[in-house]
Symmetry: C2
Subunit: 166 residues, 2 copies
């Protein structure tokens, strides 16, 4: 059972965003610009009833990452401290799967119009799942290492992905 198996995934669509060279670290609300998930038409039927949800998880392939062999990273939230990659949302991870929660604005055929998402234009989508109240909502979740040494207002800028200077 401990043999290395290889797992194959395929894109089910692509995320269209205004970000070509730079993307924010986390989703930023931006009503001026359009963000959408364009599913391959063959998967459109799988969206039935999705519009009954307010939020969805988007799982995507971090296809613009050049290296994923580092296990310690220094994300912008860490004040340059080394953090284990699994304790971060860094895109540099052994399996380059990204996870973001976005809200649904509307769905038209195979296109889901969404709130802002922190990915480059044309990022391949792997999966979409509903974010379900009580199941996914953890009111007693904490901030882990993220709030160690940061003041609350500064931390909020990081969590909301708002660019700022230190």
């Amino acid at each position: 059972m401990e043999n290395k198996i290889s797992i194959e995934m395929k894109p089910i669509g692509y995320i269209e965003t205004p970000y070509m060279g730079n993307a924010p670290f986390q989703p930023v609300e931006d009503d001026e610009q359009e963000f959408c998930i364009v599913l391959e038409p063959e998967y459109a039927q799988g969206l039935e009833k999705l519009s009954t949800f307010k939020y969805i998880y988007v799982l995507f392939y971090l296809d613009r990452i050049e290296s994923n062999d580092k296990l310690l990273v220094s994300p912008s939230w860490s004040d340059k401290k080394d953090i284990g990659v699994f304790a971060t949302r860094s895109p540099n991870r052994p399996n380059p799967i990204g996870l973001s929660i976005v809200s649904i604005k509307k769905i038209e055929n195979n296109i889901i119009f969404i709130s802002g998402i922190d990915v480059f234009d044309d990022t391949p989508v792997l999966d979409i799942k509903p974010y379900i109240q009580d199941l996914d909502n953890k009111p007693d979740a904490n901030y882990g290492w993220v709030n160690q040494g940061s003041d609350a207002s500064h931390l909020a800028l990081h969590i909301k992905g708002i660019p700022h200077k230190h």
Copy 2:
């Protein structure tokens, strides 16, 4: 850009659970039994600081699924109605990636002891990410189609993954 690309993933470890032939539909709290994620030792360094978090996302490969070509499914929560697969947490999906939120009990070297998780024993792990307060917590999330036609106490059994008769 619309060419089909193939994406390769590899297990970073395995989830040990008491579930051999049947697993609950969602994580069930069960302090009598042990659930843990055994990371391949080569990835253990990536767990640095993970224990500062209360909850984590576990992304896993649904390796016991036999078919994933249906886009409409009838999960146990749907009262036999057809629901688009992306509006469900059904394991039968185009890319068989499962997502669960669990709490961390303790971490010892390459082993994370966790609360109950709804997967078969020896399920391959793809990724671990911290669940971060404010970023992942959506107090205004809804239940989508899940609460249409269900009473609240019955719905709670489904969401908590508690087996019951209809």
